[in-house]
């Protein structure tokens, strides 16, 4: 009788990469649902397009690289990239935006760097930046919440406008962007930025209909939904609390200081936390294990760096929202951060005491 030889440990916690990726994707669901309800069903169409593109691109490249396709498709990493990109772009952007973006994310940013685990940059954010820089018009056509729209949008309208640029009843995207009074509405961040640029004070700007008390109408709920999903991930020990806390914490502290220094021109911390993609980025994007820092101290530094960059770009840079840029810049710093934040090994003196 011969017995199977194996190396210890012989026990495993049975939580696989696929399982983790699936959990993260599932934790996005509350946010997606709120987005669909408040901003229309475009996001769902984008999701389908993105996932299909991601799978096709991933399979294609794996085939070219001579790797087994199915086990790697099953790890759900391509799926997660697709989901994150789909919920990050404007829900009614034309179909080719998401197709180009997803294919770029999977093929160029991930697979050409060696596949899962080897990419320096967050694929979804790199693709987002590519799209934003290449197609600025399409990438900034955010529709206001349904409650503020002049025309009611059906799910079919979402499909029509994404594929034909016109809703079924023939409205173009720019027409849909206009409110009942015929005034074009951008995102709260964009609106505030424009208003402040025109010399309005913060309070004057916040009186506009796109704002709801301290944050944007609709956006507050989307952010709260992502916050809930993120907390679930922390509770499930899928992500560490350090990166989200550092992102939110640094953005909060910086904007609090700034708003105290210049109350008329800088929005307060709550506005920053619940507008734009803060919660999505803090819990789902910055925590991408592949491109984030891997040490505990490093994660705090990495998160704080993202918060700082977002604060700077939102308030002083050329873009209303800045998570994609902030995350990519922080990705670049990761090897350095990791190197200098190595933990003290058991029984060794702290690194600072060496020398």
């Amino acid at each position: 009788m011969s017995f199977k030889i194996a190396s210890s440990p012989h026990q495993h916690n049975q939580r696989s990469t696929a399982h983790i990726m699936r959990l993260v994707a599932l934790a996005c669901l509350p946010g997606i649902a709120v987005q669909a309800v408040l901003f229309g069903y475009g996001v769902l169409v984008q999701l389908v397009l993105a996932i299909v593109t991601a799978w096709v691109s991933e399979a294609l490249v794996l085939k070219l690289r001579g790797k087994a396709v199915l086990p790697r498709l099953k790890d759900n990493s391509a799926l997660l990239t697709a989901v994150l990109l789909a919920i990050a772009i404007p829900p009614y952007a034309p179909w080719w935006i998401i197709v180009i973006g997803t294919a770029f994310a999977i093929i160029m940013v991930k697979q050409l760097y060696g596949g899962l685990g080897n990419n320096l940059f967050n694929p979804a954010m790199a693709a987002y930046v590519l799209l934003l820089v290449s197609f600025p018009l399409q990438m900034t056509q955010w529709l206001p919440p349904l409650s503020l729209q002049s025309v009611d949008l059906t799910p079919l309208d979402a499909v029509c406008s994404i594929f034909t640029h016109y809703s079924c009843s023939g409205f173009s995207l720019s027409q849909l962007q206009a409110n009942i009074d015929g005034i074009t509405m951008a995102t709260p961040l964009d609106t505030l930025r424009t208003d402040l640029g025109r010399g309005l004070t913060l309070d004057e700007s916040l009186n506009r209909p796109v704002f709801f008390t301290f944050a944007g109408t609709g956006w507050l709920w989307v952010n709260l939904a992502y916050l809930a999903g993120g907390l679930l991930l922390i509770q499930q020990k899928v992500i560490s609390w350090r990166i989200p806390l550092a992102v939110i914490g640094s953005l909060f502290v910086l904007s609090a200081i700034a708003t105290l220094a210049a109350p008329d021109t800088v929005a307060g911390p709550l506005f920053h936390l619940f507008s734009g993609g803060t919660m999505l980025a803090a819990f789902f994007i910055a925590t991408d294990p592949v491109s984030a820092s891997t040490t505990n101290k490093g994660r705090l530094v990495y998160g704080a760096l993202i918060g700082l960059l977002v604060f700077l770009i939102r308030n002083f840079g050329g873009y209303p929202d800045a998570y994609a840029f902030a995350v990519l810049l922080a990705n670049m710093a990761v090897p350095l951060i990791d190197y200098y934040t190595r933990p003290r090994t058991y029984g060794h003196r702290p690194r600072s005491e060496l020398k």
Partner: protein, 736 residues
């Protein structure tokens, strides 16, 4: 802030970084009493069952041994003996599959029990009255080595001379499935505490901390009850977390101290012993019951009756499994040790040894085999789980790259191989396996580096020695050369004569009995001869040149003739013929010069009359003799340094050879005369040809007629030709 000791007394516990919570699955076995196995048919006792060296065998094949009889000695301090677990006969002592991850065969004593279980003489000790040395040697002689898994010889840890603050008794048993220590504490808490008493006598600690994981409430209660009379014994329940039973981790849990890198717990005043070891000490000292058996947890879903068994050391695993109703499955794994750090067994003949705490035979559903290794997603779950605060994914990266410098920078050596990282890895990367390989590689590299360094040192020493010898030789040569030069200067212008005189002296010195000469003298002589040979060689080369230019004028045999001569006898004959012809010519020339010869300096006068007589008699024979003589002389010149003969000049060389020559001359005065005449003639000619050269005197034409050779002129000719050829060759090779 209370001091550390007060905090410990107050029951404070600390925590260590990382750790995991795998399902315990101890309920399979921890509620059942310990079963005693029947004595098996055969016992396989590896001679080394601990960390350290094996003792010397004390028994022979075929010998009957009694229960508890020592089978190996323990002369070395790192050796602990092995005992016969029952009475029986030694069947054989052969290599047998070892209970080690490598499963390499190890020298094993096979014992056939006779079923009588007959004890040897036993001498229980009263530990309160005997001294520490007696106790320690009893512990060593009883074969006790750490029973927690490492198997470190217990008497070394118990015999520390450093002051010990805390004696920690490790009863954590953090690996899933294993409940052997649990059951031991449940059933034998009193004996364990006696063992701790003995350790306390030896080490005299401030406090004894007994660490038990909180999933063993019955065992903890039993221990608390047994310790109730002892003030400084503290039973501490530590939270269930793997690997809190690791030595370093338990120290951190109970005392908040870390063992500094590269040091031992004793350096921070801590000694840790396994609870099973304490029990074995009590048995050894109080009952003179050496380590003969141990409790082994036999668990896994393939068993009908998973339970703890008391197994004799040497019992094959198959006997344990059979006693528990083992049903093998396809792709069955049988693990010795726990699921986290145990190793799989290749077959079931592997015996239970002192460190075997568990035999695990799981089903594939229970402990699924590792699936395919996927890519690392840098999630750092491994770093969060690592109890040593390492960065396992960085280590993996550098292990794959075989970057041993980086691996050392990231403290690979601090990995305790607990397997927590691989347990949590979502990509199911066998991290521990990578680290084991990398560690082995680094060890190998270090060994190689050490070896290379030693070889280099050896080589350099040798080079230095050779260089020194060379310098010494050179110096000696220079001194000798200088001495000779002075001598030459002193003896006047006639350097040739002086040279010859020196050579004669050397020869005479050599002729003296060998034992009278010191080694240095011999060396000096040898050097002198070498020097002379070299000079001679050079002269010959120059002479050759001159001869080539003047061959037609002089009847001297040219060296060119020798070039055609080979070892081939035919060619040699031809050469000899040529030589003869030349010799003849020379003889004729010599005849003409005969009168002049009489006027030559003293050394030749002795023989000149004979020469005058004989020259006309048989010019042919004389020519042959002359040729032979030339050849011989040449040969001799080449091999001078070996033979020690230095007859280099025609004018003087006859003198040393005179003794033998007289005989030859007497027998054949005519021949001798011819030879002498020839030699003279030649010397003269040469002197003419090389008048400008100071060294002209040392021509290689010493006539030394040999009776044997002249008897067979043909043979002699061949020999002569051969000799010439050889000389030539040698000269060539030396020149090149």
């Amino acid at each position: 802030m209370p001091g550390l000791f007060q905090q410990i007394q107050a029951g404070k516990l600390w925590d260590f970084h990382g750790g995991i919570h795998p399902p315990g699955r101890k309920e399979q076995t921890n509620q059942k009493p310990i079963a005693v196995l029947p004595i098996p048919d055969r016992l396989y006792l590896p001679l080394r069952q601990h960390i350290g060296v094996a003792g010397q065998l004390l028994v022979r094949v075929g010998e009957r041994v009694l229960k508890g009889q020592q089978l190996t000695s323990a002369e070395n301090s790192m050796a602990v003996p092995v005992h016969a677990p029952t009475s029986g006969t030694v069947l054989s002592i052969t290599p047998h599959t070892s209970p080690h991850p490598s499963a390499l065969p190890e020298l094993t004593l096979v014992l056939e029990p006779d079923g009588l279980d007959e004890w040897r003489q036993r001498e229980p000790l009263n530990f309160l009255t005997c001294d520490n040395m007696t106790l320690l040697s009893r512990i060593q002689d009883s074969g006790i080595a750490g029973m927690g898994g490492a198997g470190f010889p217990t008497h070394i840890k118990a015999g520390l001379t450093q002051p010990v603050d805390y004696l920690i008794i490790n009863a954590v048993e953090c690996e899933p499935y294993i409940s052997a220590d649990d059951l031991l504490m449940q059933e034998a808490a009193t004996t364990i505490v006696k063992g701790i008493d003995i350790l306390c006598r030896l080490l005299n600690p401030k406090a004894v901390l007994i660490g038990i994981e909180d999933d063993k409430p019955i065992a903890a209660a039993a221990m608390m009850a047994a310790c109730s009379q002892r003030e400084h014994y503290y039973v501490r329940l530590v939270p269930t977390k793997y690997p809190s039973g690791g030595e370093k981790q338990l120290i951190q849990l109970l005392t908040n101290k870390e063992v500094p890198n590269g040091r031992r717990p004793a350096d921070i005043g801590i000694v840790m012993q396994n609870v099973g070891t304490a029990f074995a000490i009590a048995q050894a000292v109080l009952d003179d019951h050496p380590l003969l058996s141990r409790i082994v947890t036999v668990a896994g879903d393939t068993l009908n009756q998973p339970q703890n068994v008391l197994a004799l050391l040497g019992t094959p695993v198959s006997a344990l499994l059979d006693a528990c109703g083992f049903q093998s499955q396809p792709q069955q794994r049988v693990i010795m040790g726990g699921p986290m750090m145990g190793f799989t067994l290749p077959d079931l003949s592997v015996p239970v040894v002192k460190t075997t705490n568990c035999i695990l035979a799981p089903t594939a559903q229970e402990l699924p085999a590792a699936s395919t290794e996927m890519d690392c997603i840098r999630c750092s779950a491994c770093a969060d789980a690592c109890p040593a605060s390492l960065l396992p994914q960085q280590l993996l990266w550098y292990s794959k790259a075989k970057d041993s410098d980086k691996l050392q920078e990231y403290n690979l050596a601090d990995c305790i191989e607990c397997g927590a990282c691989a347990y949590v890895c979502p990509s199911e990367i066998p991290l521990v396996q990578y680290y084991r390989v990398a560690k082995a590689d680094i060890r190998e590299q270090q060994r190689e580096a050490l070896k290379a360094e030693q070889a280099k040192a050896r080589f350099e020493t040798r080079n230095a020695r050779l260089e020194q010898e060379k310098q010494e030789r050179l110096q000696r040569n220079q001194q000798l050369a200088a001495a000779r030069q002075q001598q030459q200067l002193a003896s006047g212008a006639n350097t040739a004569v002086a040279d010859a005189l020196a050579r004669i002296k050397a020869k005479q010195a050599q002729a003296a009995p060998a034992e009278e000469r010191s080694k240095e003298q011999i060396l000096a002589e040898r050097e002198l001869k070498k020097q002379q040979a070299r000079e001679h060689q050079q002269q010959k080369a120059e002479q050759q040149k001159a001869q080539q230019q003047a061959t037609e004028q002089h009847s001297e045999p040219t060296e060119q003739t020798a070039t055609t001569a080979t070892t081939n006898s035919k060619a040699a004959a031809v050469a000899a013929a040529i030589a003869r012809a030349q010799a003849k010519k020379a003889a004729q020339a010599a005849e003409q010069d005969a009168t002049e010869q009489q006027l030559t300096p003293a050394p030749n006068t002795e023989k000149s009359p004979q020469a005058e007589v004989s020259t006309e008699a048989d010019p042919r024979k004389a020519a042959i003799a002359a040729a032979i003589a030339r050849a011989k002389a040449k040969q001799q010149a080449q091999t001078e340094h070996e033979t020690g003969a230095v007859p280099a000049t025609a004018s003087t060389a006859n003198k040393p050879a005179a003794g033998s020559d007289v005989v030859t001359a007497a027998e054949d005065p005519r021949k001798a005369a011819v030879a002498a005449a020839l030699a003279r003639a030649k010397a003269k000619k040469q002197a003419n040809a090389e008048a400008t050269e100071q060294t002209a005197a040392s021509t290689p034409v010493t006539p030394e007629p040999d009776a044997v050779v002249t008897e067979d002129p043909r043979k002699a000719a061949i020999t002569a030709a051969l000799a010439r050829a050889k000389a030539r060759k040698q000269a060539d090779s030396e020149n090149s």
